[in-house]
Symmetry: C2
Subunit: 122 residues, 2 copies
């Protein structure tokens, strides 16, 4: 548990993702489907932050990338998080925080990355 991890855990959005990949490995797309209020891109960026902090692992398989929590990396914090997720009151609190904490542009509607032409090589 390094100081950086505390920063990562501060975000309700990242905690929400963490909860999803706590007990099972999930593909990025599956994680995104569980939080339709943000774009796929946003989820991908948060997943990156979690991986860089060493809290989550990624595994590529075919077109998918599967993510799961590295529970060993949490130490005593694992307990705190699990208790939070079990507690109904805290579930409500998380919902409220996600509402509040939404940053970036004002809420719009349909949240998948929109394709357009699809040309241009690098």
């Amino acid at each position: 548990m390094m100081p950086a991890a505390l920063e990562v855990l501060a975000s309700p959005r990242r905690r929400e993702i963490l909860r999803l990949v706590w007990n099972e490995e999930l593909a990025a797309g599956t994680i995104h489907r569980a939080m339709p209020d943000v774009t796929f891109g946003a989820v991908s960026l948060q997943l990156r932050a979690l991986v860089e902090a060493g809290l989550v692992e990624a595994r590529a398989e075919q077109r998918h990338r599967f993510y799961r929590a590295r529970r060993e990396a949490f130490g005593p914090v694992a307990e705190i998080l699990e208790r939070m997720w079990d507690d109904k009151l805290w579930k409500l609190k998380l919902a409220a925080e996600l509402e509040e904490t939404r940053r970036g542009p004002k809420p719009r509607r349909n949240r998948t990355t929109k394709k357009r032409s699809g040309k241009r090589g690098r």
Copy 2:
């Protein structure tokens, strides 16, 4: 330990303050003197955040206000923090983070709140 506390712990500055008032009660001014790179006002605001999160208690005595950590409120996190503070490597990390994390206007120099006229009633 509520979700809000995780947010509060995310700030290196607040963790620095917390460390100071972990084992002893200190006046706001004493705390500020220990971190001369920020103004008294900035310290006061962070103290407020810590008190509002229930992590720190304040006691008024004469012209002073004494602050101390409410260690009961930390649960398993207390251990994490104490280990962080004991660890020499983490001490270096904290210094680096404080350097990095300095927000607000670019660094200037002398950091006490400057007085001016001092009139004007409310």
